[in-house]
Symmetry: C2
Subunit: 396 residues, 2 copies
């Protein structure tokens, strides 16, 4: 039975110890090294569990393609329509592009990704098929969960619901949704379709909700109602949830209570230019808060990169988390928060957990986050898959 | 007469050319190389003018010191008092610390810094003296402008005005101020003292204004009144100016008009967790907008680093600047905006301008900003002062 021991690592920035890994799982800490065990030197690095990218769009990143000159209009619909057009013009191949992002993310210590994949009447399920190919090809490097995502609307583009159904048959594990009022112009109809798919396929739900203030809050109420009616507590995520950043604090407090009661998770990208959910307040209310990058260098915008330590910094900056304990909270949205949202079993640094691990230099945990140095080592299922910032898998 | 030619550079991401440098200035582009000229290979890098850090606090960064565990309280005054205490406890040496930040900033392509240096009844002018030492020591590497900054208040701590006066005699080039209502509890008194010092010493003004909404707007009005009364148009900067992010849009519009008329500059750090001035709107109104890092890894917070390309990204994220022309605008706050704020003559890429230059890889200008690769070469006054991300000057 193969045993790997990494000496001189500091779990979560604590005391240096050795970690023993067997059959892809953490077998214990600080034990005597058995004869025949392979040993690696952790060099005093901080060890954290694998980073969790809980919201991205791997099928449409432009990584590795020529620079896309962004001249898009200001409205949400401008960006959606521009993207559908550019998909053809630029030749954005979902399998190739998702593979590029997967390898880059793995080099940065991400061991789990939830990705929303476009399903619409133009692309059909080709995006789903492409990302499924990547999921299979890189299964030893990273776990990828697919959300069937009706980016262009569902009811306003007849045939989309059937395509979503097909995507879930093919292997998408989550049903997505998008701005029930603002895009489909029919909040009840949109959400009934989304939750209908979830019920039929027995899958979780993850809905993009950019709708502002009281409008978004109304859609949120409809989501909460359906979550409870269908017994989907703990299985529903609302992504973005900008309405939780609205001015009416009494209304926000009521929504937070209702979300907590329905065990609905909140995903944030910590956007600097939009109202956003207050991470600390949600966590204190017992809500699972996960973090994601959103699109990485795509037709929507150029800034994002898939480094989840950088995302933790952005969560910290957006939420004014300055103290060391608060920086740890920001990091938690990029580790345990995402893991709980995705329902990952055996995630973490306890004995028995899967050995999905990141070694990164830092004097303290907060230092490791803010300094974002190249990851010294990344392990997936107990195997080293990246060293010194370079993945051991090839990108296309 | 020494001539340096850098071949194969792309000014602002345009066509490749060569740049000739003579007597510390740009002598021309695309010319024949004269016999005896030293030549360097730009490798096709994008060439931009030196980055301008228009607001930081070099005297109190903790760079290179042990990790500071931040457990500070939530109020502004908690942070101010904690910092005064930690200055003694940690032994924060202004000369050493400002030198560390100067060298790091230079390695990242910053060629000009405006730094606010604490003046109070505990530290006296020791901070000013320390940063003046750094300014002198690294004068061939970077230009440093000192603002005498009454961080702990001026009127509430008798003797501070006299120390500010002394700081300006010693060589501080700008008079600072801070939240006239919120800290000194006497907006008229505080601003009369600040502008009195400016008049007496014939120096520009740069006032930290964190005060929120209508309170900040009132202080802003008092600043505008004094700027006009004393004929200081073009010489006054308001840093932070959070009140310009307030909800009352009519009031904001009136303030913008008044600021533009008084030619008052706005400095932003593009804070993600606070209301903030809308950069594009201010620029369109003809106001000079500069960007700064604020404190770099200090007792206030751990996140900031002095990379002004990262700051341009944060300006872009905060202001939702996604298009390529908008990314260029974000960069402009970190180059020309800062230069205009600081009244730098001969700044830019025109023939005759000082050869303060940064070479950075990128397919396009926007790519160079968002990718933030190590700076290939940094020149100050025509001399190479950093290569491949490493400064040629030693930090203490």
């Amino acid at each position: 039975m193969h045993t790997l021991v990494i000496r001189n690592v500091r779990p979560m920035g604590g005391e240096a110890t050795s970690v023993m890994i067997r059959e892809g799982r953490i077998a214990g800490y600080g034990q005597e090294v058995e004869g025949g065990a392979e040993t690696l030197d952790g060099g005093g690095a901080i060890m954290i569990p694998g980073l969790v990218e809980a919201h991205t769009h791997m099928d449409k990143t432009l990584l590795g393609m020529g620079w896309y000159r962004n001249e898009v209009g200001p409205r949400l619909i401008d960006k959606i329509e521009n993207e559908r057009m550019q998909r053809r013009v630029l030749g954005i191949d979902p399998a190739r592009q998702s593979a590029r992002q997967a390898v880059l993310a793995a080099s940065l210590g991400t061991t789990h990704i939830r990705t929303h994949v476009d399903v619409d009447t133009e692309v059909g399920v080709a995006g789903i098929e492409g990302v499924l190919e990547t999921r299979e090809r890189y299964r030893d490097m990273i776990d990828i969960e697919l959300v069937a995502f009706p980016q262009s609307g569902m009811l306003i583009r007849p045939g989309t619901v059937e395509l979503m159904d097909r995507a879930l048959q093919l292997g998408a594990q989550v049903v997505g949704g998008l701005d029930p009022a603002a895009i489909d112009r029919d909040p009840k109809g949109h959400l009934d379709a989304v939750f209908g798919l979830a019920e039929r396929h027995g899958v979780p739900v993850d809905i993009h909700l950019h709708e502002p203030a009281e409008l978004g809050a109304f859609s949120m109420e409809l989501i909460i109602e359906r979550t409870k009616a269908l017994g989907l507590q703990g299985k529903v995520t609302i992504s973005h949830a900008f309405c939780l950043g609205m001015a009416d604090q009494d209304y926000v407090a009521a929504l937070i209570d209702a979300l907590a009661e329905a065990r609905i998770h909140i995903l944030t990208t910590a956007p600097a230019s939009r109202p956003a959910p207050a991470v600390k307040r949600l966590v204190e209310a017992g809500i699972v808060v996960a973090a994601g990058t959103d699109g990485v260098r795509d037709t929507w915008g150029p800034y994002n990169n898939p480094d989840m330590l950088e995302r933790a910094v952005l969560v910290g900056l957006r939420n004014n988390l300055r103290r060391d304990d608060e920086v740890a909270l920001a990091l938690d949205t990029c580790t345990h928060g995402g893991a709980r949202m995705m329902g990952l079993d055996d995630y973490g640094l306890n004995t028995g957990d899967r050995a999905d691990l990141v070694l990164v230099e830092g004097e303290t945990l907060a230092d490791a986050v803010v300094s974002r140095r190249p990851r010294r080592m990344v392990l997936k299922g107990g195997k080293v898959i990246a060293r010194d910032g370079v993945a051991l898998f090839e990108a296309p």
